[in-house]
Amino acid sequence: MFNLILAITKTFSRASRLLNIGSGYTWSGHIILFFYPHFIEEAISSLPQGTIIITGTNGKTTTAQALSFILRERNLRVVTNTSGANLLNGIASALISKMGWRGQLHADIGVFEVDEAVFPEAVRLIQPTIIVLLNLFRDQLDRYGEVDTLVSKWKDALEGLPSSVKILINANDPALAFLGEHSRGEVFYFGVTDHELNLKEVPHYADSRDCLNCNSVLSYKVCYFSHIGIWFCPVCKRTTPPLSFEAGNIRIRKEEMHFFINKFETTTKLVGIYNVYNLTAVFGLTQLLGMGEALSIPLFKNFEPHFGRQETFLIAGQTVKILLSKNPTGFNVNLRLISVIFEPGDRLLLALNDGIADGRDVSWIYDVDFEDFLKLFEESVCASGSRADDLALRLKYAGLKKEPIVSKNTKIILEELFKEAGKRGALYILPTYTALLSIRKVLLGKEIS
C-alpha cells in the first residue's frame, strides 16, 4: 500500500515539475502525510549523517541552498526542500523526490529550511542533529503573530531537546541569544565583529530592543541593522555571547563581497551584511559536521545566488537583479545595499503584493526608510504589485516629488522598463514573495526568447 501511494505521489510530483506547475510540488507531500502521518520521521531516520534544520525570518533559503551546494561538492547526497516550500508538506515532498520506487531514500543528509511558525512541530517530528537559528524580525504579523510570541514558542521547543542536539545561534540577535541561554543541547554562536559597519543608532524598525531577562532597554557597542549587533544589558549585564564562528573585515563590491570568517578570507557573489550572517552560519555548519576549514571556504565563491535572493538575469543586454524584500528589515537592508552599488542610469522597481503568502497587511511599508535613499532613486523608481497604489503613496510621504510609474500589473511594467533596456543601466527589483513568483515567470520567459 505504501509503495502504491509513494508511486502515485512520485508520479504526480514529476508530472507537475515537467508541466512546470510550481504549486504542484508540495501536493505530493500533502497526499503522503494524509495517508502516512509518520512519513517524515520514518524516512528521515534512515539518513546516516542526520538532519539539519534552518529557521529564522530572513536568510533561510540562501543558508540552506549554500550549505547543500557545499555538501554536494563534498560528494554527499543531500535531500533539501525547494525554496519557500518550508512547511511539513514541503519537507515530505523533498523526501519523496529522493526516494526510490521501493521507498529507499537516496540521500546521506537532510538540509531543511523550516517556517518560523512550524519550527516547534518540525523539531519534534524530525529530531534534527543540528538546528540553526538565524534571526527573528517582524514579518506578516497577521500570520505569525508578534516576535515575542514566536520567541516563546521557540523557547518551549528548545527546552525539550535531547542534550545531544547541536544548536547554532546568531549571537548578534539578543532574543536568539536569550534562547541559547535556555536551550538544552550544545549551543554554538556565530556573529559579526566589524566596527566599520556601525550605524549611529539602533534603527526605529528594530524589534527585540529589550532584554528578555530583565525588560531593560538594551545598549549597543555596534549595531549593524535592526536589533542585530554587539549588544549588552546595562542592568542585568547580559552580553553578546562569545563567538565560535566570527566574521569581519567586510568589503562590499557591486558583483561580489569579501570578508573573513575565523581568519579565513572568503569571496562570494552574495553581497550585503545579511549574507555575511548566512554564510558564517554555513561555515559553522560545515565545522559542526566535521569538515576541514580549508575545504569549505574556497567553495563559497562558486555558489550561485538562488531564486530571487540576489538572483541575476541578463535581458536585452541589461542586468536585472532581484532582491526579495518581504518585511521591513529585509527591505531596509536591501535599500541600503543597493544605495552602495547604485550607479547613474540604474533603475529600481518595487513590487508589493498582499497575497496570503505575503501577508494581507502592508502597514510595514511605513517602517521602510525610503526617505534616506530618495535622492538616489528619485528619477527611476517604479511601483508595482496588487498594492502599487499604497507604495506610490508611501513614496509621496517619503518626499518623492515626481509621481512614480505605477502599474498593478508587473508584466506590463516590466515590458515598459525593457523598452529602454539598451539605454539604461541595471534594473534592481525589490519584490514581496508572490510578486517575486510572477516577476520570475516574466523574466524566465524573456531569457529564453
Partner: protein, 252 residues
C-alpha cells in the same frame, strides 16, 4: 501657527508602521506651511512636553511592551492625558492604546488590567481558542463636518485600513462610535460598531498607518488641534491618497 504633537512610546507602541501616522501629520502640515513639532514621549521622560501638546498619538503594541507602558502611564502620563483631552486636545489612540483608555482589559486568563477610563468601554479577550479579528476593514464615518478634499475628488466619508486584535471591545451606553462597520470586525465583530469618540479623542482598531489613506481624517485631526475650522484648511492635491483609499474600498 504651530502644531505640537506628542508621540507616546514610539519604540514600545509602534509594532507595525504606526509611524506612518506621524509622517502623514508632519507632511500635511508642512505642505501647508504650518510649523510642526513632534515630541517623543517615553517611559521615564519628563511630562512638560506632553502637557503643552495639541495632539496626542499612541499606537499599538505587543503584550510585553504593553505591560512596560502600563506602569508608566498609570503613574505618570495618564492623568495628564485625561486632563488634556478634557480641555479639548486631540487624541488618536490605536489598538492596544484604545483598549488601554477604556475601564479595563480582561486578558485571556481572566486577569483584569485597569485602564484610564477616558472612554466608557471595556475590552475582553475571549482566549486563544477564539480567532483574532484580522483583515481589511472599512467603516462609514460617524463624524459631521469632515474637511473637504480638493473639489475634483469624490468626497470621502469612509475610513479604510487593517485590523489585527484579539480583544473584543464593548461600548458603554451613549458612547459615540467612530463609525459603522461596512467590512471587517470592528469593536467586537457583533454590534457593527468600530472605535469610539469622546470630545476630540478617537480610539480605534485601525492599526498601523491609518492616516495616509484617510487624508480627510488626518486633516480633521490637524484642524481640531490647531483650533481652526476644518473647512478653512488649504486643500491639497490628494490624487494618490484618494486613489489608495478607493483601491482599499474595492480590495476584498
Amino acid at each position: 501657527m504651530k502644531l505640537k504633537i506628542a508621540w507616546l512610546y514610539p519604540s514600545l507602541m509602534g509594532t507595525y508602521g504606526d509611524r506612518g501616522n506621524i509622517i502623514t501629520l508632519i507632511k500635511r502640515c508642512q505642505w501647508r506651511n504650518i510649523q510642526v513639532e513632534v515630541r517623543e514621549v517615553n517611559p521615564g521622560s519628563p511630562v512638560d512636553n506632553l502637557r503643552s501638546s495639541d495632539l496626542i498619538f499612541m499606537g499599538g503594541a505587543q503584550d510585553r511592551q504593553q505591560k512596560i507602558v502600563a506602569d508608566d502611564i498609570l503613574k505618570n502620563k495618564g492623568p495628564i492625558i485625561l486632563e488634556l483631552i478634557e480641555k479639548g486636545a486631540v487624541g488618536l489612540f490605536v489598538c492596544a492604546s484604545y483598549q488601554f483608555l477604556g475601564h479595563f482589559y480582561r486578558a485571556a486568563d481572566g486577569e483584569e488590567i485597569p485602564g484610564l477610563g477616558l472612554f466608557d468601554l471595556h475590552t475582553v479577550n475571549p482566549g486563544l481558542s477564539v480567532r483574532r479579528c484580522i483583515g481589511n476593514i472599512v467603516v462609514e464615518l460617524n463624524i459631521d463636518g469632515l474637511p473637504k478634499l480638493a473639489t475634483n475628488y469624490q468626497r470621502l466619508t469612509t475610513l479604510v485600513g487593517f485590523e489585527n486584535h484579539g480583544g473584543r471591545t464593548y461600548l458603554g451606553e451613549g458612547v459615540k462610535p467612530l463609525g459603522k462597520v461596512l467590512r471587517g470586525f470592528g469593536n467586537n465583530g457583533k454590534d457593527g460598531t468600530e472605535g469610539a469618540i469622546y470630545k476630540n479623542a478617537i480610539g480605534c482598531y485601525f492599526h498601523g498607518p491609518l492616516l495616509p489613506r484617510n487624508p480627510h481624517l488626518a486633516d480633521l485631526l490637524i484642524s481640531k488641534a490647531l483650533g481652526v475650522n476644518p473647512l478653512d484648511l488649504i486643500a491639497l492635491p490628494d490624487d494618490l491618497e484618494v486613489k489608495a483609499h478607493i483601491s482599499a474600498l474595492n480590495n476584498e
